[in-house]
Assembly symmetry: C2
Homo-oligomer: 566 residues x 2
């Protein structure tokens, strides 16, 4: 491709609109542009990289008998009523009404694909079956993050497998995880497979996470074993013991202007481990109080699982005022209305003579003792794991790191099939619900992660199998006939040898052309300069910066050698 004919709008300045270094570089090097509504255009260079990523994903899936199809993006909401997932409707999915006021949704496709397979497959003989698509997905985030890790439109590979029993499902599940591993290895990525929340309908879920400070996921690792899980679900495995301390009489104290645990500890000169943090929650419409220790964080996903709830939110100021008669800063478990259930984290068991809110603005209790001073309806593991906690597998202690989730595989078992009546007859002629699993991979985040991995201060350093072109051919001065002729000649030869060449034939200053070439970041630059008359060109390896001169007759051999070892 002649560079004069394509569209690679590089920038000299560092753009301020991007959140991550890689996103800045993608803007500078003319790969992407961002729009006011938080969406991105993938310019010609990015489109070529995306295409290569897509091909690698497709190859590995097809290698494992997954079959490609294409589902509509817009679904009737009726399907979601069948599955019962409507009650978990996520505001991040796009909901719309058509002009005839039919309700539509642009969201995950499990219902849709299940309905198709249900209508067509009636016997176990046609199973297992794995179907996938690579398609644009839409979401409606609360805020734009100005990077590719949370794009409003993104390219998603989603696959679904259908089985007659758990054994078959487990086989495909392992098979698909191996496809993911192979994809990541071909892309040169170091990816962690992490136990994750399986959602309302899932049975077991793994997330593929790349450690990165721009990530929104918090991942818990053991320092002595292979244990790794999303901090959202990592169990806290501690047997709390009560300190051997004499129980003192409870006492109400004034705590004017104290709002946070931090202020409370300062004011009363106590450790946060002595404080009882009380949080009022709306759990499927019922108001409850959850207690965690002052140094711990409540985990809503754990609450949801513990109480088998579909929807857990913090209660609103109004709900709190109405049920407890005080504001958030002063809540406590003592003398609550009798119908309000109290759920406590196991950590509360370690508290003797603690501190809690008094359900009265400006007051707290000291020397509070659980069970003596208030009742607890249920104990459970409802807090986030923290650095220094023991690893749930009993080996070592936990450290936390930020990561970006790029995919997820989930065993859905028979829940969807039961709700959507997706039955097949088994070998004994009996009707049984199909077993399902789903497999997602976010190709836009993958692209963002790869951009993060392959750049230096001058621009990108793509490996050959991801670079938008194989090499950059450049005539330093196209006004020089010898240079132009040699460049034209080499462009033809290289193209004949099936090299995918970006040929900088632009009539521009050498400095601009070199800087652009570094930004674009193809693995090799072949420069035709002053020695064109002698038939000598310069070859530069982008990643190492290594350069050497080379006679034009030797060029193909040298390039073949370089790419063979890539």
């Amino acid at each position: 491709m002649r560079q004069s004919l394509t569209f690679i709008p590089t920038m000299r300045e560092v753009p301020q609109t991007a959140n991550t270094k890689s996103c800045q570089m993608l803007l500078r090097a003319g790969y992407i542009r961002q729009h006011a509504n938080g969406t991105y255009t993938y310019l010609p260079l990015a489109k070529r990289v995306l295409h290569k990523i897509e091909q690698i994903v497709r190859e590995e899936l097809e290698e494992r008998q997954a079959i490609e199809l294409e589902l509509p993006s817009i679904q009737s909401i009726d399907l979601w009523k069948q599955s019962g997932r409507l009650q978990f409707f996520n505001k991040e999915w796009i909901y719309l009404k058509d002009r005839n006021q039919h309700e539509l949704v642009m969201g995950p496709s499990i219902e849709l694909i299940t309905s198709i397979v249900r209508d067509e497959i009636k016997t176990y003989k046609k199973l297992p079956l794995t179907l996938f698509q690579i398609q644009r997905r839409f979401c409606d985030e609360k805020e734009y993050r100005h990077d590719l890790f949370q794009a409003r439109e993104f390219l998603m590979k989603d696959a679904y497998s259908f089985h007659e029993n758990e054994e078959s499902l487990n086989g495909s599940f392992e098979h698909m995880i191996s496809a993911y591993e192979r994809i990541f290895s071909r892309l040169g990525l170091n990816v962690h497979i992490v136990k994750a929340d399986s959602g309302a309908f899932g049975d077991q879920s793994f997330e593929f996470v790349i450690l990165n400070n721009n990530g929104q996921e918090m991942i818990a690792f053991s320092n002595q074993s292979h244990y790794v899980a999303n901090a959202q679900i990592a169990e806290v495995a501690i047997e709390y013991e009560q300190p051997n301390e004499e129980l003192k009489p409870i006492e109400k104290v004034a705590t004017p202007n104290v709002q946070t645990i931090h202020e409370l500890c300062d004011f009363l000169q106590v450790e946060s481990t002595k404080c009882i943090k009380s949080l009022v929650l709306n759990v499927d419409g019922e108001i409850i109080v959850a207690l965690v220790r002052g140094d711990h964080q409540l985990n809503m996903i754990k609450i949801m699982k513990l109480l088998n709830a579909s929807n857990v939110q913090f209660a609103s100021e109004e709900e709190i005022e109405k049920t407890l008669g005080c504001s958030t800063g002063s809540i406590g478990p003592i003398k609550l209305p009798l119908d309000i259930k109290v759920v406590a984290d196991y950590g509360i068991k370690s508290i003797v003579n603690g501190v809690s809110g008094a359900n009265e603005n400006g007051y707290h209790y000291i020397n509070v003792n659980p069970n003596r001073d208030f009742a607890i309806n249920l104990y459970g593991d409802i807090r986030y794991i923290e650095e220094g906690d023991p690893s749930p597998d009993g080996k070592g202690i936990i450290r936390l790191e930020k990561g970006i989730g790029i995919g997820r595989v989930t065993k859905l078992n028979t829940l969807y099939a039961e709700k959507m009546k997706a039955y097949v007859t088994n070998q004994e002629g009996k009707k049984i619900p199909m077993h399902l699993a789903s497999y997602e991979l976010d190709l836009t985040r993958l692209f963002g992660i790869l951009a993060e991995q392959y750049y230096d201060e001058k621009g990108f350093t793509w490996p050959k199998h991801l670079a938008p072109y194989d090499l950059h051919l450049m005539a330093v001065n196209v006004a020089d006939e010898a240079q132009r002729n040699l460049a034209d000649q080499l462009y033809n030869i290289l193209t004949t040898y099936r090299y995918d060449v970006l040929y900088d034939d632009r009539d521009d200053r050498a400095g601009i052309k070199f800087a652009d070439s570094d930004l674009i970041g193809l693995p090799i630059r072949v420069t035709i300069g002053n020695k064109a008359m002698e038939g000598i060109v310069e070859v530069k390896i982008r990643k190492t910066g290594e350069t050497f001169e080379c006679a034009k007759e030797e060029l193909i051999d040298r390039l073949n050698e370089f790419y063979r070892t890539q």
Copy 2:
């Protein structure tokens, strides 16, 4: 691909939900499924055909220096305010609000691409530039037609070219038309290039139309020249003459229960050519009356162009009652309120002693004479061309045929660039607006049209370059070891020779397998049956039905020969 592993749900019955024969066949042969909300799933076979169509389109565009990129589907409505196209907002485009109440639209991309090029290209030296994408588009039709010719989600190729002047634009425009011609010829389609309405912002527009009774377009052809145009815009080139007839005095007559022109002609025993049809329109908010002869049909697009209006609709019953004091059946041009403009088709000039409504329910006037009995503010060509009209180029007469529009190219000239401030400096250093053209091609309709073209009563008859696989290999009875072994062996050999093989390895009745094979419709079927032990297979050419036996050793040669001549 082993057929037991893929997903080709054929149907024995003819489905009643499809509108067209081709769509029925696509359902029966397991290519597509339709959903309740009027969208389609492209099952694995259709996905493969679509992919081949996409590749042909991509190759021909890239051959002509068009560069691929990927724009977001969801746009901020602000861009549409810049271009001024918001006032022409079409209900067929999808409008939505995000959770922060920002207005978004999923529609054509001219504004978006113009904004990108505007922000990056400042000099004529970087022009011309042609950019394209192949992307899913969404629309919100009033009704679903239950076929692929009006799908709610469809695959669109849209391209845009940017130029410093008209000459450059004209060059690219011709170039792109030649790309379309080449695409259609490769697909084996007979496509008409038809003059079409260029919309509010276009200057000159051509539509690519395939004649087909399922079409919604009406195309006007001359029987003696190459003249062809969409009936929406084909000029009526008739010099009407007034018959030499004595003017009679106007007279009001009772016409009880007469509502339509047809009823009026019956009741008064007059020709429809004598009747004045009066239609009340709302033109950009102003009420006007348009007159056409009783045998003619009013053309809203012509009205829009004639009056240079952005929005023309029939006036509502309420508007008619309010301004004229009568209902639609009785409207006439006589004694209208003075501020109501009257626009007449040239055909009205031919009327002497005609008939019109009396603006009074149940009454008409007879012996009405234009100019004597009422004033006409403006004459124009505001009716549809009809069969038998003279061809606008003066050669022959017009015949009409139905067609399906599959693409459109439009010269937009500088209008968008001016509104959106997309300027470049020209050779003299002067700032000038860029010239634009747009080029659309609907790949979903193309797929529908191709399905329409390549089927017979048993199923599809795909040519090799469109077929989902090159050939169908079938073991009639997989329980027979000789058959299964030979089929497995040939599957390996054919795959090694790079044939894309669908291998029917299913343990099913022979009748089902043969019927499925005809439905799927690959160019060749290789059947392994009773003569497997002797190493003899049967080859069937799907399209002609011709069959011959062939020793397994000769198979590759025979196939190579067949495909070479395809």
